[in-house]
Symmetry: C2
DNA sequence: AACATATGTTAGCAATGGTAACATAGTTAG
DNA sequence: CTAACTATGTTACCATTGCTAACATATGTT
């Protein structure tokens, strides 16, 4: 079945062109941005003809969507991992998720932008939205825990949203090099902690 | 001199091609996004050959930068206008600026994205940063007023930054259609007011 | 009137996303 | 084992795009 086989180039068939194209695309996108990225480049890097990708992706957008989806998944995993190093359901664990969010954006700015630019993904919006919801759920559960709520109710949702907004904005400002427009050194870690404290209602 | 003349097509010379190209580009960008925008389209819309723009703009990027710059300017003007309808130096006037910010993003999402996507503007980053600083100053002055600070000192800067971050994040989530990921109806106006209240220190 | 400058045109280039027709490898049926 | 089928690759080609070069026309200055 679809087990991850060893990549055996027969010279004609490639082995795992789909995976290799995704890898190549991710690399190129982080180097030159999603706009500067071309299918042709990815093909050159993977060592195949420019027509080959269309056996695996219906279009350039389709490939980009795949990368966005993967990114959204990894973001959720990162957040959970970072939070799990703190006492659960605390300001600290929630702030840790925020740090993971911004850290992801700074580590892979172009992928991050891709993950959230709806305009690009005509076709697979619903699929991406689903994956996004999954990663957002990681935050929701942490906030529910903090609030002592038994499940994801409206209170949890209303509390979580401004937290998301905050780190999302911070991420974009950071990757777009707007932090020095503020004319004073912004410490990102501090910003996240302070905003998290202010936006969370104090809880017993 | 460079006064805005009536646009007289002689049939060959155009009158104000530069201005018309900017207008055409703005229209096309809001219709199809900055990626879907092509120089050729703008030329067709302006009724000139595809080589004509290069007498007025060194490249496609240069034209886009011009539009970004104009957008940043208009954003600052919008913010000032909306704030001036409130009592100055209050939570209300600051929230009004936030509303103007998000409203701009929703009204011209593609231009908004362009305004903040550093990656695109290789050449004119410094110029754009300068204009951006100008518009940011509108918020800074309002916050200084609120805090009773005589000038833009570090306290003002530290207070203003999370406010910017918040509305910036909200703007992006809104234009990227991510508000329904939260599974509950987000009232944008409310969100802004609540976040502004929480992020501003209470002041006598 | 003559010249310099600004601004437009046509012709053409290389790169790109995508398709069609063909080639080859791996898989399954008889 | 071979034949047929399917999956996956290739070459050839197309329209579009950003941009440049060489040429044409208008405007303004002297």
């Amino acid at each position: 079945m679809a087990k991850t086989e060893i990549h055996k180039k027969t010279g004609y068939h490639h082995g795992d062109l789909r995976g290799e194209l995704i890898a190549a695309a991710r690399q190129l996108i982080e180097e030159h941005g999603p706009d500067g990225f071309s299918m042709s480049d990815a093909c050159r890097l993977a060592g195949v003809s420019t027509a080959a990708p269309y056996r695996h992706f219906s279009s350039k957008q389709d490939l980009l969507s795949e990368i966005a989806k993967d990114g959204l998944n990894r973001l959720g995993i990162d957040m959970e991992a970072r939070a799990s190093k703190q006492a659960r359901g605390t300001v600290q664990s929630i702030a840790a998720m925020g740090r993971a969010y911004v850290a992801f954006a700074r580590r892979e700015p172009h992928t991050f932008r891709l993950m959230f630019s709806t305009m690009s993904h005509h076709d697979r919006i619903d699929e991406l939205k689903q994956v996004g919801r999954g990663s957002y759920g990681v935050l929701l559960r942490e906030v529910a825990n903090y609030l002592g709520e038994p499940d994801i109710n409206e209170t949890v949702l209303r509390t979580s949203f401004p937290l998301w907004t905050q780190v999302h904005g911070l991420s974009f400002l950071a990757i777009d090099g707007k932090l020095d427009v503020t004319e004073f050194p912004v410490d990102i870690e501090d910003s996240i902690l302070i905003a998290t404290e202010r936006l969370l209602p104090s809880v017993p």
